[in-house]
């Protein structure tokens, strides 16, 4: 099993007709993902390499049975795209786009939560989600992940996620699902959402968590792990030596007012029984030990 998406998941792409959407949409299809539709009101009735394009999310859903959307719309149009997908009743909206204004994120997160509780948002500014061997939705290179299990991965960072997938593959360790929640201030899906799903997934036996400075999501995750997780967790936090007050690439990665430091996050996780590595390789090695002991 996997969490959130698998081989039966049908995906539509908002922005499939753009250069990024087309590139990754076709790449995801090549991986084996059921890429069933694109949406573009100006190009309804056309197709992208055989994938039909519809005028709205509702039409695309009605015609294809898609339950998940992957959003490659430029930042100014993301709010409208997410709300359209939620109104159409999709279960999961994966927003790859970076540079979305924080006010928009705060608005559509709360709007969807209140009016469309059946819809989960992942991202914005995330690499997407991959259940190796089953479905790859987003920009992760599928070949760096080994299908199967027993490890689930949840991460705020793109390249560090790839690093983790790759190191586990080199150690011949498979991954059930890898979720990139993104580095923005209002992520639609939290660490806790993913930890909860991994805890409930029988094929996931251990979880790797990759965090970074800023906010308090890792501390909240640690609290959840302490109280609700039976499965072992390893973790890595990037930005131990980041200077305060500077945004380290991601909009959400900032230590401000002495809050959101890597040290505080590492301590909270360690106190919750998580094995915390000092660098990505060490976190990978810790996971190898955990898997050997399962």
């Amino acid at each position: 099993m996997a969490i959130f998406v698998d081989e039966n998941t049908k995906v539509l792409y908002q922005g499939l007709t753009g250069s990024q959407g087309r590139f990754y949409g076709l790449r995801n299809r090549d991986y084996g993902t059921q890429v069933v539709a694109g949406v573009n009101p100006k190009k309804a009735g056309t197709d992208v390499d055989g994938i039909p394009v519809y005028g709205s999310v509702a039409e695309a859903k009605a015609a294809t049975g898609a339950t998940v959307s992957c959003v490659f719309i430029p930042a100014p149009g993301v709010q409208a795209a997410v709300l359209e997908a939620a109104e159409a009743g999709l279960e999961l909206v994966v927003v790859i786009t970076e540079g979305v204004p924080a006010q928009d994120e705060a608005y559509f997160f709360n709007k969807v939560k209140r009016d469309f509780p059946g819809t989960r948002i992942l991202g914005p500014n995330c690499p997407g989600i991959i259940s190796p061997g089953k479905a790859n939705i987003g920009i992760t290179a599928g070949e760096i992940a080994k299908p199967g299990g027993p490890v689930g991965i949840v991460s705020r960072s793109g390249t560090l996620t790839y690093q983790a997938l790759y190191e586990l593959k080199l150690q011949n360790i498979g991954v059930t699902t890898c979720v990139g929640i993104g580095g923005d201030p209002v992520p639609g899906t939290s660490f806790i959402d993913c930890l909860e799903a991994f805890e409930a997934d029988p094929e996931t036996k251990a979880v790797m968590l990759i965090g970074e400075i800023g906010g308090s999501a890792e501390e909240e995750a640690a609290e959840f792990i302490k109280n609700h997780m039976t499965k072992p967790v390893s973790a890595y936090i990037a930005g131990v030596t980041a200077p305060p007050g500077k945004k380290m690439g991601h909009a959400g990665a900032i230590v401000s007012g002495g809050k959101g430091t890597a040290a505080a996050k590492m301590k909270a996780l360690t106190d919750a029984g998580v094995k915390v590595g000092n660098n990505p390789t060490e976190a990978g090695e810790l996971m190898v030990e955990i898997v050997k002991g399962l």
Binding site: P101, N110, I139, S157, T159, L160, Y166, P185, G215, A238
Partner: protein
């Protein structure tokens, strides 16, 4: 993007928040002329992106032309915690009956907007929060509901301001919330928010951070960008569109992805080195971006060795290696480079680099080995 006080006040004024009339100037002569026009007494205020300017002598009251000249002369060029004052704001002095605090920001844990209001203003809010947390009235606002007048009034009552300030405070808070949301700010703070003896409520200071991601829907934000404080390296990187943060050490860092770049800075520290910078070249590391990044790093005189750390995902290792080789053909680099390429097609990438290896260019297969090698070279 942090605004200077006078920019924040102009931003507030565009949402009808009452602020003192004033002028921003860069020379003593302009300061005197502005003060004469505004009418005495005036306050001469240093415009810097750092707190604590009052204690540093950066805020002075002037009652006449000669005092305005004296204060402007002292404040312009003043070094406040490493920030040199280049602009002063001259504003009409206000009579103050009471000082309050008001702000809006995003509470990332609650995923709602957080409003804070306190009758104890004019001091750092962190100090109030530590010593007397009950003195801060907080509300969490769902962005879908916004801030209604009814909620704002209840909030103001909860803060126990002087009753004479209540109506004015409600009015300003509603406008400040609009400035925060419609103006796309990450932070809007008024400290102090003052009650004048005449009963008016007024923003005596302005601290505003704008969300750079929203620049596409606001005109005129370039002027704010122009007054951001960046060192030469940061300015050069900014001009090339690179995500760069200047640090104090001697190991130049280039990586793809924010997380990996942070991680690279960390690992250099862990093996006993000091990174000169954080630089994320993003997912698609082509030759042009790599050349630009190398140029920025190379122009930093503190850099003694360079660490390029790439994980090939979408961008394959061989493409990255070719990009680096092409970039090295374009930019003459003075410091030795250690490259670590891993991930998709890493073997091919390393094979390409192997043909170019020398004292000035070496390739390592893991982050840790590469970090140790580059730190050794930087010694």
């Amino acid at each position: 993007m942090d605004l200077l006080e006078y920019q924040g006040k102009q931003f507030f004024a565009s949402f009808d928040i009452p602020v003192s009339p004033g002028e921003a100037v860069t020379t003593v002569e302009e300061a005197v002329a502005a003060a004469d026009r505004i009418g005495y007494p005036v306050v001469v205020k240093a415009q810097v992106h750092v707190g604590g300017r009052g204690k540093a002598g950066g805020v002075k009251l002037a009652s006449n032309t000669s005092e305005a000249r004296e204060h402007a002369g002292n404040i312009l060029g003043l070094d406040i915690k490493g920030h040199i004052v280049k602009i002063v704001w001259i504003e009409s002095a206000s009579d103050i009956a009471e000082e309050y605090y008001a702000s809006f920001t995003l509470d990332r844990a609650a995923k709602k907007h957080l409003g804070m209001l306190s009758a104890q203003g004019g001091v750092e809010i962190e100090v109030v929060a530590d010593e007397n947390p009950d003195a801060i009235a907080k509300i969490w606002i769902d962005p879908v509901d916004g801030l209604t007048e009814e909620v704002a009034r209840a909030w103001v009552l909860a803060a126990n301001l002087n009753p004479a300030a209540n109506d004015g405070a409600v009015d300003i808070l509603l406008k400040l919330y609009r400035a925060y949301t419609e103006g796309d700010a990450d932070l809007c703070e008024i400290n102090p928010l003052i009650l004048k003896p005449t009963g008016e409520v007024h923003a005596l200071d302005a601290k505003v951070t704008l969300d750079g991601n929203a620049e596409f829907r606001h005109e005129g934000w370039e002027v704010y960008d122009a007054t951001q404080v960046r060192d030469e390296r940061e300015q050069a990187a900014h001009d090339k569109g690179l995500q760069y943060v200047g640090l104090e050490g001697s190991v130049g860092v280039i990586a793809n992805g924010a997380g990996l770049a942070m991680s690279t800075v960390d690992i250099v520290n862990q093996v006993g080195g000091k990174p000169a910078n954080f630089l994320d070249i993003g997912g698609g590391a082509n030759a042009e971006v790599m050349a630009g990044a190398l140029e920025v790093i190379n122009n930093d005189p503190a850099v003694k060795a360079i660490f390029i750390n790439i994980f090939g995902g979408i961008t394959k290792g061989d493409e990255v290696a070719n990009g680096i080789v092409t970039a090295l053909g374009r930019v003459k680099i003075d410091s030795p480079i250690v490259i670590r390429i891993d991930g998709t097609n890493a073997e091919q990438g390393r094979a390409i680099l192997a043909e170019h290896e020398s004292d000035m260019l070496q390739s390592k297969s893991t982050m840790l080995e590469a970090a140790k090698a580059v730190v050794e070279l930087a010694k």
